[in-house]
Amino acid sequence: MTEPSEISRRIAEELAACGVGLVASLPDNWITGVMDAIERNNQLTHVPVNREESAVGLCSGAYFGGIGAAALMGASGFMTSIYAITKINYTYEVPLLIVITLRGTFGDHHKHHVSNGLYLEPVLDAIDLPYLIVDRPDELHRIGEAYRHSRTFSRPVVVALTRSLLKGGHQP
């Protein structure tokens, strides 16, 4: 099993390698290690934000600064950001890589994420937001694939990270 700290470091490296220079984030318990790794990566500027919509705004503006950007957040934070994503990124066709946690699925023992298990993927489908799920270390290269697709597609693309990837296996 690959250690969670190693996964976090590789996620940060994958972001930097694909052209991301700015990461705006708000935590979720599963990604605090990723945030630490991003903070330590000297190729990335890390900006902790007050709410997930601010990450969407900041990263979308960075596109016009010529800076590749990614918004990192939990599934619940993503669900609160639908307004910002559809208004800014859909209206103006601004690319954005959004990295989220895939909460509420098998192995997530938190009852308050049941709503994400029920509605996260249906909401992504409802707004025609392309997404891919990264569940294994050998799939981490798909983060770069998603970033490049967002640039081609001129809209946001979501990468959803699973618990087994981030925390190293399912809870009993």
Partner: protein, 202 residues
């Protein structure tokens, strides 16, 4: 001070600054005053995110000042943005809070706690050091130079204006579609800074 007079003075002082307007009246009045369709991104499709958007632009163009307008209606939806702005402390970002004490874009509907909101105090409470307030055109004319000299860090400017009249509310919005705005503004940024936006290597 009248909203349009305030913006006309600011526009008269614009040189090479990039401008971002917000949902609400700011895009409408900036368009009425300037008819500019290159140096400004009319971020009408967004409540409370114009300064975050402008911060991203400012990060990439540290040599260029970025003016971001936001109504106090939008500000009330996300005042925590000032924490992020303070943390980033971008010296080339000027956040203009246009305070008309109304939801201006929705027929001047009432704003919560409108009489007591002290936006400058809120900003100072979040640690902002460069905070300016202008409630009259004369004060703006005499004090704007100091506000725009942002060498020491991020700047927050409160502009107390009158709500738009019924006739002013009917002024046209900028007529560009979203993708058109993206390319008009983005191509201007590319031409004027040399930074490539639309041809990233894939």
């Amino acid at each position: 001070m009248r909203y349009r007079d305030c913006f006309a003075h600011l526009a008269s002082r614009q040189t090479d600054q990039f401008v971002v307007t917000s949902a609400g009246n700011s895009g409408q009045i900036w368009w009425d005053v300037t008819r500019d369709h290159e140096r400004v991104f009319y971020l009408d499709a967004s409540m409370s995110l114009s300064t975050m958007f402008a911060s991203g632009i400012a990060m990439g163009h540290p040599e260029r000042q970025v003016w971001a307008f936001m109504g106090d209606g939008a500000f009330c939806m996300n005042p925590g943005m000032l924490m992020v702005e303070r943390q980033m402390n971008l010296p080339n970002l000027v956040h203009f809070l246009v305070s008309n004490r109304r939801y201006g874009a929705t027929s001047n509907a009432a704003l919560p706690n409108q009489a007591a909101n002290d936006y400058a105090a809120i900003a100072r409470g979040m640690g902002l050091a460069r905070v300016f307030e202008f409630a009259s055109l004369e004060a703006l004319e005499s004090g704007l130079d100091a506000a725009l000299d942002g060498a020491d860090g991020h700047t927050f400017v409160v502009l107390e204006v009158e709500p738009l009249s019924d006739a002013e509310q009917k002024l046209p919005q900028p007529p560009m579609d979203g993708p058109e705005l993206k390319y008009l503004f983005g191509r201007h940024v590319e031409r004027s800074t040399g930074v490539k936006i639309f041809d990233h290597a894939l």
